[in-house]
Structure formats: structure tokens, C-alpha cells
Amino acid sequence: MAQSVVKEFTKGLWAEIPPFRLVLGLCPILAVTKSVENAVGMGLASAFVFVFSNLLVSMLRNIIPSKVRIAGYIIIIATFVTVVELVMQAYTYPLFLKLGIFIPLIVVNCIALGRAEAFACKNPPLASVADGLGMGIGYTLSLCVVGALRESLGNGTLMGHAVFGPDFQPFRFMLEAPGAFVCLGLVLCIMNLIGKK
């Protein structure tokens, strides 16, 4: 039992790390990774939603009729997203403003719905929480990697501190929209290279 829970947790960190291995939830990773700070905020907010929606879906898995299950999952997810929205508005208002509409859009993040449908509706609560936590942390890590790349190359800083010294010419392309696509594409390519060995 304990072993399988650990397995569910760790698969989100490498073997099925979203969004690189499961190509889901691409929008936030392109949009909010201009800096590591935003990436962490977005990742943690999503992780919270994944964990709790997985928990609730798993607890209710025998009660929700299968015909209306998708609608049920969406309501559960939307409830937790509203919680995150209100909490962030209250405690981290500047970050909330920066992330903008991407906080409410966690509702349609395919990872949340995908995990509910593919995992939580078939497994007991503990395993589902482990799965949600693994996916959430994996997602946060991916967001941070892309965020770190874009922030360091595009702005020459990391978490607001200069990293390359005064002579560095910022590669502004990385901070703009096209840079996001290219950067994510190349990270995906590197993941494929490593994964093949």
C-alpha cells in the first residue's frame, strides 16, 4: 500500500511529468513563465487544486452517476479554483494581479480534469491525493524550469537577482510571446533526448 502511494506520487515528478510527458495544460506554462516568481505562484495554485479536487472526486467516486460525472468534476474543480482565487486575492494581491485571468482558468486546465477522469475516479482517496500532489509538484517544477530559462536569458535575472554580471545583453526575445513557444519546444526536445537513453 505504502509503496504504491509512493509510486503514484513519483510518477508525476518524472515518468509522466506534466506538461512535458502528458501534453496537457500548456496555456499557463506559456503565459505566466516570464519570471520564476510567477511560475511558482501559478504552480502552487494549480497543485492545490489538483490535490483537493482529486481527493473530493475520489471520495465521491461511488456517488456521482457516471453519466453526469464530467459536469460533477468541473463543479468540484471550479469550487477549489474559487477558493484559490479568494485566498490569493486576500494574501498575495500583487501576484494575483500578475497572473490575471490565468487563475480562474485553472478550471479548464486539462490536467485537473484529466487526472480526475483518468485516476481519481477509479482509486481510493490516499492514492488520489498522492497522484494529485505528484502532478502538482511536477507541474510546478516544469513551470519553474521554463520560468528560470526565460527570466535568466530574457532579463538576466533569477528571482529578481542579476545572474550574468553587468556585461550581459538581455535576450529580450525570450520574454515575448514567440520566445515562450520556442523555449517550450526546445525544453520538450531536450526532455525527449534524455528520455530516450
Binding site: 501534453v23 464530467i70 482558468l105 510571446a177 514567440p178 525527449n192
Partner: protein, 191 residues
Amino acid sequence: MGDYIVLAISCILINNILLAQFLGNCPFLGTSKKMETATGMGMAVVFVIVLAGIITWITERYLLKPLDIEFLRTLSFILIVASLVQFVEMFLKKSIPALYTGLGIFLPLITTNCAVLGVCLINIKEEYTFFEMLVSSFSYSVGYGFALVLFAGIRERIILARVPKSLQDTSIGLVTAGMIAICFFAFKGMV
């Protein structure tokens, strides 16, 4: 009138929902391997976004705001989008079968297309009037379809090219999207 045209151009080209605002990327990469699927998806998106835009705007204006329950916005909007998509699907199946066969398979996918919810939320955030909302919903979704079709055209050619193994599929798709985004970037100085 001039304002509406400026708004339309800025929504289609400058703030293109896919390439500048990053909304709706999952179906963008998923359904853009063939021209036909891309066209079908594009049309379904236009249809649903305009309808959802109208309904959510009315809900916000006449229900959420007067009752002061705006914190329920996310919850109510996603429910509206989900049930609207279901309803449209049933309606088309019964009354316009020809259109249904064209759009049918894409409709269920649209519920989790963040472009739909995104446009509805942008309309509210920018505090558009009813007509501005109509123009923006329509132009955003046309911009989405436009980018999708452009991208599908390029992707059909990429299949014929010899791409390094680790760059294949999604990876090269993203890099291509980046290139198209550069082209759209050029419109930035227009308005």
C-alpha cells in the same frame, strides 16, 4: 464605428488569442495536424465563443452584479459553457444534421478549451458594452480559427520534412507556433 474596427483588428491580429494571449493551446496542438480538422475546430470555436460571450455577459450584468455575488463568476461561467456546449450539440444533432456532422466531434472538446472561458472573462474584465463584447468575442474567435488554419497548413508540410527524432510532433509544433507568433508580432505597431 471606427472604434469597433480598431477593436476587431486588435483582437484578430495584435492580441491574437492563441499566439499573444496563449489561450486554447491544447486543442491548438491537438487538432492542427490536418487542414480539415483545423477548419472544423475553428468554426466550432467561433460558434461557441460568440454564444458563450453573449450569455456570460448577460449573466454577469443582470445576475452576478446586482446580487453582488461576483466571486461565483468562475463557477457559473464554466457551468454555462459546459451546458451550452451540450445544448448546442443536441440542438444541431436534431435540427441541422449537416452542420452537426461538420462540427460534431469538436464540440465536446470545446468545454475544456480555455479560449472560450478566457474570452468571456476578458469581456468582463475590460468592461465592454454589449456591442463591444459582440465584436470582441467574434474577432477573438476568428483570430483563433485564422491562426489554427495557418498553423495546420504549415504542419501538413512539416510531416513531409525530415525532422530530428527528438524534435518530432509537439516539439516542432511549438517551435513552428513560435515562428508564426513572430509574424503576428509584427502587427504590434499597427494600432
